[in-house]
Symmetry: C2
Amino acid sequence: MKILIVEDDALHRTYLGESVRAALPECDMVLEAADGATGERLAREHASDRVVMDLQMSPRNGIEAARTIWRERPDTRILFWSNYADEANVRGISRIVPPGAAYGYVLKSASDERLRLALRSVFIEDQCVIDREVRGLQQKSTGAVSGFTDSEYEVLIDIALGLTDRTIAKRRNLSLRSVQNRLQQLYEKLGVYQPNEGDAEARFNLRSRAVTVSLLRKLVNYTALERAEIELVRWLEKEGHSHR
Amino acid sequence: MKILIVEDDALHRTYLGESVRAALPECDMVLEAADGATGERLAREHASDRVVMDLQMSPRNGIEAARTIWRERPDTRILFWSNYADEANVRGISRIVPPGAAYGYVLKSASDERLRLALRSVFIEDQCVIDREVRGLQQKSTGAVSGFTDSEYEVLIDIALGLTDRTIAKRRNLSLRSVQNRLQQLYEKLGVYQPNEGDAEARFNLRSRAVTVSLLRKLVNYTALERAEIELVRWLEKEGHSHR
DNA sequence: AGGGAAATTGCGGGTTCCCGCAGGTCATTT
DNA sequence: AAATGACCTGCGGGAACCCGCAATTTCCCT
């Protein structure tokens, strides 16, 4: 059994290596990669179907790498090992995991034992293992009050990128008013209306404020923005061409 | 000689401990703290004047902790050990370092040797050591083209927080038009005007877009936002009281 | 098939934002 | 003293935003 480790922090990488060797004596080969790109390459060359990797990496982050790995071998088992449990990461993963694939998500703050269990469950038993803290987010994200619709999340990203209402409408194939409706729902759910006890004037620019609280609540984060920006420029180019 | 280590990641903490012991044989006591708050407490109790600490921590981040430590003992030597070299961190530190204090800033990606040198320089020789990558930012931030005036940085933070023009004016004691002037300069320097080859309509909401590119260029980051938000609510409360 | 909730769209308005223009103030220069 | 430049300020207008209202479409459920 071969296992591929993708993690840019050297200390964490050696720690993962030791944990893997200790938890999985049936593993006879441990590959290591220090960034997403070489991780993808090693996965391809060695046809490795068991990967444990970090999410926060630069220049090529974990979600991107996982996407291409899964595109080439959808049955790859991937265990994500991340610092944070924020909605942006969870959403990003559940968007790309192939149906039926085994994967896991454990936090770096988890105990050695928890990591050991996750390694065995995902790589030997083909189970899905998701830390409780993260699981809480998943429930919310599909569910009720504090969770967002996919469409709401879309406009959130769009205004975070700094797009105009009109541009959003064009990009998402909606009317101007529909975009503004979504925005209203978003403002509502983010609790951005706080005229400070009734009477006084509004202190916040709703649009910008919405982005701020999303950042503070970790509904979006830096890597999510980065990814979205890349998609945006791609779309902008396509748009530009079709208009001349 | 006593040395206090403040770092929330367990692996990095033990690594730092080993490095300190290896680089500084004259050190006979190493204290460890896993977050900013206990770091402050240990520093107070043990009257420690040599601290090495991480910047990215939660709930209480490194800059806050450093501020209170320096407030109590301005001659404390602090070596910051950080993942990133972005303008928000550099600005945050140079804003709170007491005149004459010795401090250092090295990246986690630095080699063992570089860390060793920094430890000895800051803690033994009372020198200031700043990684080259970070130094580049410092030059820019006080200087010419791509750097910002302090006042421009202020409005940047304010719109990142989602404030209205009017509110910014009140907070900074300016007229509405002056705030808008600063904003124009900001938009100019951030290069936010890109109507995509002349004719076409504007695709970006300048205000939001400015925040986005500042984030992408790491002129502001999550912890800077967090700090600014705290200051903001403090100001809002004061304002609220004075108005009834 | 039919009823009802949810989403989409148009219209109209009030507000905020973005910014050119035209003065002001203050400090430094010549 | 005049001149230059940097900054702040008021005015006005066009564009974008925020949103209530109401009509329509879409979707889902029994």
